[in-house]
Structure formats: C-alpha cells, structure tokens
C-alpha cells in the first residue's frame, strides 16, 4: 500500500466505474500509519467519495464479514454473500491488479508475497511470479535451513502448513512464514475442557465454540449445525485463547467435513432412489399400456366373433373384413385363455378348501368361480373365433403398411434426438421436462413398432 497507493486508487476508479457505489471505504489497521499516510496523499483532490477508515488492529477484522461489520455496522446474513446486502469487498491487491490489467494490459502473473518468520534472515516483500517455488523466495530472503521447523502459506492464525519448499506461489499466497521451533513450538497435550468460555468471549461470529467442540467430539452433528457450525470462519481465535490447548478449529473442520460427506452421500442416495422410482413407474406404465392394448384387442376379437356369428351362413368375405381390422393376436388370445383357465382352477381350489373347512364367504367364492367359468369360456370362444378368422384373412394385408413404416421410423428418430439432448442437459428442470418428453416419444415409437409388427405378421 505504501508503494502502490496510486495504482490502488486507479483500480478503485475502475471498480467504481463498474459498480457505481454510493460510498467507498478503505479499512486500514491503525498499526500501519505509513500506509494510511500514503493513501491520504493520493486521495487529496480525488473526485471519488472515498473514506479512509482506520480500524483497530484486532484479529480477525481483516475477514470480509468482520470488516464489513466494523466499517458499516451491517452484518452479512448467514448463507449469503456481501453483494446481497449491496456491499462489495475487494482487497487492495485486487485493486492494484485491476489497474495493471486495464491500464497496462498486464495479466495477473505475479503477486506480492511477504516472506517472514524467524528462520529467514531478511524478511521482506517480493513481487513474485505466480508459480515461483517457495524455495526460491526463501533463498532470496536468506533462509537458515537448520532453524526452519514449520513452513506456512498464509498467516500464523489461518495459514496452511506445507510439506516442503517446492510448493509454488499461487494467487492466494499472501505470505510465506518460515517459523523456527522457538517461534511456533509444538502444541502441548490437549487437556480437558473446563468450560471457561474464553473461546466464546473472543469468537468474532458470536458462536458458542465450546458447545460446538462438545458436539463435534460426540459426533452430534445435528446439534452442531443447530448451533451454527457453518458460520464458523475458522479464524482460530478460540484455539488461540484456550487454556486447555484444545485444537478447536480442527474439531470444527472435522465436523464440517463429516457433515458434508454425509450430505453428499444423502444426495447420491436420493438420486438413486429417484431414478429407481422413475424406472418402476415406467415399467408399471408400460405394463398397463400393454394390458390395455391386449384388452382392446380381446374386445375387438369378441365383437368380430359376434358379428360373424350373427352373419353365420353368409359369404365368408363379409366376416373376414372386421377380423382383419381387429387384427387379433393369436398368441395373446391363447395366453388370455390359459390365464383364465388357471384363475378358474385356483378359484375352484379355494372354493373346495373353503367348503372343507367350512369357512365364511363360500357364497362369494362360488359366485367368483361361476364368473370365472364364464370368462374362461368366453376367452376360449374368442380364441377359436380368432383362429378361424386368421385362416380366413390369410390373404388380406394392411393397406397403410408403408405409411406405418414411415411413422415408426420418424418416432424412432425423435427418441434418439431426445436421448442425445438429455445427455447434454445439465439443468435439473430441463432434464425433468426432457425425460417426460422422452418417455412419451418412446411410448409412441413402441406402439407404432408393435402395430407394424402385427401388420407385417398378419
């Protein structure tokens, strides 16, 4: 900030041009008087409505949500982003990078990295290219290899301890901290929590860290969620003050990851269940449709037979015409007759059983048997009639076979198209619509195919 105040201001101008904000505030901690001075100098005579707000140096006021609360008194609602309440929070580094990108046409290929810690002799800031290995920067800052015990990417409170020095600088590498054993000794053994609630006094998100700790430890994740676990920003203030040296943040991370895993598995299971149900529904529908078709055919066959019986003795041609349109499926009729016979047999067995044991409802069973007998006879008759009709209409062929073939081909094409579209769709809503369309198209295609087959076989 001290060196690039002008670039920052230029970046702010660009952001301001894009967003047209009513207020612009720059928060600077009060332990950086030179940065405040530098910014004040470039801001004199600036046309923008920019306030420099000096804030107390108190961790973690640099966090986006905490800074917004500090500067504006507003709180970002849980689960929302600052833009939802009309605030955009940008780093000064971002502002400078925007200036370079827009005015100098320079892409984001470098960033300022602070290299510090007890293990380096000359702690300093570098303008490092992204991808530079840590080792190069550490060497430039004169690292004492033998003193290095912990290497952090980021600050001491939230930084990530890295495994070795060959890690490259990335866009979020603001700091490389090479700490010695004395600077960051290993944490002492965890002691029992004495519920002193010091963690609660320091929590910037006003959570109950101690309760979250108990819930995480006891795997009571529902309760942890209810106590707003996911509003934890993992700043580490609680673990910093804990007199029992409990690694509280680690417990929260564990609980969060467990909950996320559980949720992912739940989603997967839900998805599988939905797919299974859809499949069941489709099979059910197809069976019902088949059943309906079968019934319709059986009725038509019965009608045709009746017609033939009434016109018995007349020339066979008039009887053959309705038989052809009805297109009786011999196979299906045979099955129907067999099924009717089986049902009848079962009902008779039941009746016999009931009579032997003198159970209730014998009358009802008797009636069922009688009804089934009639049905079975009807089915048998229909079958015989159809066999006769078949023999009679052997010469007849469907006139619109060609048309039917074309229709079936077109339906198949539609199905393929829809399938392809479905595979390319990401959107949940669109997917569901497409699936419905696809099912309809498949049905139509199946029906046409069926009819085609019947006609060609007939």
């Amino acid at each position: 900030m001290r060196e690039r105040a002008a670039e920052i201001l230029s970046g702010i101008r660009i952001i301001s041009h894009l967003l047209r904000p009513s207020h612009i505030m720059i928060g600077i901690e009060d332990n950086k008087p030179q940065a405040i001075h530098a910014l004040q100098q470039v801001l004199t005579g600036c046309e923008l409505n920019i306030d420099i707000r000096v804030v107390p140096t108190k961790y973690p006021s640099g966090g986006e949500r905490q800074l917004i609360q500090l500067l504006t008194g507003l709180e970002v609602p849980s689960g929302h982003i600052p833009a939802d309440i009309g605030i955009v929070c940008q780093n000064v580094g971002t502002a400078a990078a925007i200036h370079r990108a827009v005015h100098l046409g320079e892409p984001l290929i470098s960033r300022i990295v602070t290299v510090t810690g007890d293990a380096v002799a000359q702690p300093q800031n570098f303008d490092a290219l992204i991808g530079t290995p840590f080792a190069d920067l550490l060497a430039a800052a004169r690292l004492h290899q033998e003193r290095l015990s912990r290497l952090l990417m980021g600050g001491p409170m939230m930084g990530v301890a890295v495994a070795h020095e060959q890690i490259p600088v990335i866009k979020t590498t603001n700091c490389i901290l090479a700490a010695s054993e004395q600077e960051m000794p290993l944490p002492p053994a965890e002691q029992p929590c004495i519920r002193c609630a010091m963690c609660e006094q320091v929590c910037p998100a006003t959570l109950l860290p101690q309760q979250l700790y108990w819930f995480a430890k006891g795997r009571e994740f529902d309760k942890a969620r209810h106590h707003n676990l996911f509003d934890c920003i993992e700043c580490g203030a609680c673990a910093y003050v804990c007199p029992s040296h409990i690694p509280l943040v680690q417990y929260y991370r564990f609980a969060k990851s467990e909950i996320r895993t559980e949720e992912a598995e739940q989603r997967k299971a839900d998805h599988a269940r939905r797919r299974f149900e859809a499949r069941q529904a489709r099979l059910e529908r197809e069976r019902a449709e088949k059943e309906a078709r079968r019934k319709a055919r059986a009725e038509e066959a019965a009608l045709a037979q009746q017609a033939r019986r009434s016109s018995d003795g007349e020339e066979p041609k008039s009887g053959a015409a309705p038989a052809a349109t009805a297109a009786p499926d011999l196979k299906q009729l045979k099955t129907a007759a067999a099924v009717a016979r089986t049902k009848l047999k079962k009902a008779r067995d039941g009746l016999k059983n009931a009579q032997e044991k003198k159970l209730d409802g014998i009358d009802a069973l008797q009636a069922t048997v009688t009804e089934l007998e009639q049905k079975s006879q009807a089915a048998q008759r229909a079958l015989e009639a159809a066999e006769q009709a078949e023999a009679a209409s052997a010469g007849e062929k469907g006139v619109d076979l060609k048309q039917l073939k074309i229709d079936a081909a077109m339906a198949r094409a539609t199905v393929t198209k829809l399938e392809r579209a479905l595979a390319n769709t990401e959107d949940e809503q669109g997917r569901r619509e497409l699936e419905a369309e696809l099912v309809a198209a498949r049905n139509q295609s199946d029906t046409l195919q069926q009819r085609l087959r019947e006609h060609s076989s007939a």
């Binding site: 949500r65 609360q69 709180e75 970002v76 609602p77 849980s78 929302h80 290095l148 015990s149 912990r150 290497l151 001491p156 409170m157 939230m158 930084g159 301890a161 890295v162 495994a163 070795h164 020095e165 901290l177 960051m184 944490p187 053994a189 002691q191 029992p192 929590c193 004495i194 519920r195 002193c196 609630a197 010091m198 609660e200 006094q201 998100a205 006003t206 959570l207 109950l208 309760q211 009571e220 529902d222 309760k223 942890a224 209810h226 106590h227 707003n228 509003d231 580490g236 203030a237 673990a239 910093y240 003050v241 804990c242 007199p243 029992s244 040296h245 690694p247 943040v249 680690q250 991370r253």
Partner: protein
C-alpha cells in the same frame, strides 16, 4: 527435511489451566489474609491441611483411574477446590471434617463424574452441603472474630493451641471460648426480636460485624483482580449481587423490622466469596454471557430466600447446587445471536 504439519492456528496465547488456577489462588490471598487476621490461625491451618489432603486424594484417584498423575496434579484445580472448602468451613473445625469434605469434593463430586471439566456440581459446594447436613454442630460453630479490645491489644488464639484444637479436639472448653454465632446465625435465631433489637443485643452484630465486612471487602478485592485479569467475566457476580441486593432492598423497604438491610446481606456470610470465587467456577456454571447473568441472578435470589426463610443461616451452597442443576438448561435457552442471523437459536439440535 521434515517440516511439521499441523492444523492452524499456529500461535497460542500461552494461557493454560494451571495459569488460570494460579491466578485464582493469587486472588484468594487477600481474603485468606483477612480471615487469618480476624479468625486466627485456624484458617491457614485448614488451608494447608486441605491442600495436602486434596493433592493426596487427587493423586490416588488419578492413579486408580489410570490417568497421568503428575500432569493433572499440576493443573491446580484440586488445590483451588481445597482452598475454597477450607475458607468456607469454620476455622476451628476438627481435622476429620476437612478430611471428609475434601474426600467428597475431590473423589465423589469430581472424579467419579469423570474428572476435571466433567463435574456437574461445584465440588467445594457439594462437600460443604454434605458436611452441613451431616455435621451441623461442627459446621455452625464459627469462631468469634478477634477484635481490638481495649487494654488487651489484638487477641489471637495462639498457633499451637489452634493446631491442638483442630487435630485433637480434646479441649473443648478452650475451644468454646473462641466460638460464637456468625452474624447470619444471630439474625436467624433471634427469637421474637426485631432486627434493631438484635443488633443492639448481639455481640457479633454490634462489635464483630466489622471483621465480616473486612473479610468481604478482601474477597471483593480478589474478585476485582480476577475481573481485571479476565479470568472471570462480570456477568455472574454482578447478576448475583444485584439480585441479592434487590431482593433484600425490597423486603427491607417494606418491613425493616423483620428483614436485614441489603448491605448486611452483601457484606456478611459467604456472599462475596460466592460471587467471585464459587459461582464463577467455569465447569459447573452456565457458559454463555447471557446464561451467566441468569445463573448468577438465580443464585442471588435463592440465597436471599434460603437465608430469610430457610432452615440454614446461609444458603450459598444450596443455591449454587440448585443452579448447577439448571446450568445446561440455561445454556440451551440463552444462546447468543450469531453473526448474520436474525435471532438467537434456542434449545438443542431438534428445531
């Protein structure tokens, strides 16, 4: 090269349970000094005896529970419990009374519940209540405060005689000459007299009350030190003192003949000790700030009720134990409003 890989944060304030306990013990110093001045060597002897017992019991039970002995002994929590019990019981109490008390405090009410941090009740108060119920005679025979009487100078029971009185308990005559009622006792068992008459007749009220005020002031000093060092928060003590003061003012305002004035309530008995050292015990109290206000206020009201209408002259132990029971419940219903939430949550995990 092997770099240490641990989870953030990588810094620690350097605070520890042992440090907290040391600060509490340091804050108890003024009170202990004041008690020794006004009630003789008995207090100090009890403290040393209780501390030794506490360390012994703690070590033994840790061994039995197969926990690291030295590491847990060093945290000082047993010592603090011992100190609190030692200053709560009469300075001339016989040695076995302390023994039983410490056994109950350390073994029964702390380690049988799972050790440090797991006890639902304040160990010192469990022990105190048990002793008060089981040995009412010994527990209510408090020492008369030593006062500067004219011509005789500062009278304090000689050290060796005190030791003898505590550990042999044979010379009851000598012992009796030093004991007397506490101000709360005097007011409690006053017969048909009004408060003003008691005030004039009773020795302890007319002459000895100054000693009790001084002791209370000493505890208050220690409490302010703890507040300053941020070992405790103001919520529970302030709520308790305010609730007790309000209750007392209300009844004193209506009927000054039958009720003691609020200053009397605040400055005698164990009020100040309780406010800053007993109800601020983190383990057994409510944990949230709002919860601690409720917790403290409940104790204040209960202390007044038990003192005024109960069977016992001082109700601190019972009030604390009752509110210890309620602490988890209080915590559930006094959660703070978290950042970014419209309202505070209530209850447990089943919304």
């Amino acid at each position: 090269m092997s770099l240490i890989r641990v989870s953030s944060p990588h810094l620690h304030k350097g605070n520890s349970v042992a440090k907290v306990m040391r600060l509490v013990m340091l804050a108890m110093l003024p009170g202990i000094v004041a008690m020794t001045l006004f009630f003789g060597w008995g207090t100090l002897i009890q403290i040393v005896w209780a501390a030794l017992l506490a360390l012994g019991f703690e070590a033994a039970i840790l061994k039995l529970r197969q926990r690291p002995v030295l590491c847990s002994l060093k945290d000082g929590s047993a010592l603090v419990s011992a100190l609190l019990l030692a200053v709560a019981i009469p300075p001339f109490a016989p040695w076995w009374l302390t023994l039983v008390g410490i056994f109950v405090a350390i073994v029964l009410s702390k380690h049988l519940y799972g050790g440090l941090g797991q006890n639902p009740f304040n160990p010192a108060m469990v022990a105190y209540a048990l002793l008060l119920i089981s040995f009412p005679v010994e527990m209510t025979r408090w020492t008369s405060p030593f006062v500067l009487s004219e011509g005789e100078g500062w009278q304090v029971a000689p050290f060796l005689d005190t030791v003898k009185a505590i550990f042999t308990a044979s010379d009851t005559r000598w012992y009796d000459s030093f004991t007397g009622a506490t101000p709360l006792d005097a007011l409690r068992h006053r017969g048909g007299l009004t408060t003003e008459e008691v005030w004039r007749q009773s020795n302890v009220l007319s002459q000895g009350i100054g000693a009790w005020h001084a002791v209370s002031a000493a505890w208050l000093m220690g409490g302010i030190f703890l507040l300053y060092r941020k070992v405790i928060t103001w919520h529970a003590p302030a709520a308790m003192l305010l609730a007790l003061g309000l209750c007392a003012s209300m009844f004193f305002g209506f009927d000054p003949d039958n009720y003691a004035d609020p200053f009397f309530h605040l400055s005698t008995g164990a009020t100040m000790l309780a406010a800053f050292f007993i109800i601020t015990d983190p383990v057994s109290s409510a944990t949230g700030n709002r919860g601690r206000v409720v917790f403290g206020a409940g104790i204040g009201v209960l202390i007044f009720i038990i003192r005024t209408w109960g069977n016992y002259p001082d109700g601190v132990a019972f009030a604390v134990l009752l509110l210890n029971l309620a602490a988890p419940f209080i915590d559930l219903y006094t959660q703070p409003r978290s950042y970014g939430h419209r309202s505070a949550r209530r209850g447990g995990g089943n919304p």
